[in-house]
Symmetry: C2
Subunit: 134 residues, 2 copies
């Protein structure tokens, strides 16, 4: 992973936990999990998450108030950045979708009205492969 080397202690604890669990976690779930690493307050978790997000190592899943380790390579290029998630309402699994191919289309949509997009987020809700038959 790019940039995982220059993480401080709290960032490492939070990032490792997100990777280990492989699912979307709320800040307070994370807090409970990283207490053994010496993190005691929400502020510390949110600060770590904020910096991890700047480094594109985690993403915030808006519709869940949760955070997830990034699974795609996002080149370190500056914005605009575009990311998508497919969220299963049955089992809660969150899968990152690569939208790079769509970027120009999505940005063009808004640009028609004079809007300059800096970053964007797409969240799909539905049923994953495993849950859709049940």
């Amino acid at each position: 992973m790019p940039g995982t080397s220059d993480l401080n202690k709290n960032e490492t604890a939070v990032y490792d936990e997100l990777v280990r669990r492989g699912s979307a976690l709320t800040a307070y779930e994370l807090l409970d999990s990283v207490r053994p690493s010496g993190i005691r307050s929400p502020t510390q978790v949110y600060r770590a998450l904020e910096r991890l997000a700047e480094k594109h190592l985690v993403h915030r899943v808006e519709s869940m108030n949760a955070f997830i380790a990034c699974t795609h390579a996002h080149d370190d290029a500056p914005n605009p950045d575009t990311v998508g998630f497919a969220i299963c309402d049955e089992c809660g699994i969150v899968t990152e979708i690569d939208l790079s191919a769509l970027e120009s289309i999505l940005y063009g949509l808004a640009d028609k009205s004079g809007f300059r997009t800096e970053h964007s987020r797409l969240e799909l809700r539905g049923k994953c492969r495993n849950c859709k038959t049940s």
Copy 2:
């Protein structure tokens, strides 16, 4: 507007306020605004919003924890429904984007991995026409 006739007192108060203001408002901003209509608790606001959303008269803007009156005709057809917003980080204006043309592309993206999308939300952050020059 379709279905604005069968709104109850609280739904009407909340919906009218959203239309009157024409911007995205948080549930608590709404609560303050509709107190004169007799609404006193967050629960009442959230219940009204929930039913207005079911009727496609308001949308929740996830990345703002806010709600906005719908400006597009969403046919009363069942899901999947797809809506987008362009949000100006400078002045806060929120513009609804019609994504109906994109629906099949967006859904196809996830479908490749076996995901069945039921509804989706796209939120673009950036600068609106007026703010992007400043």
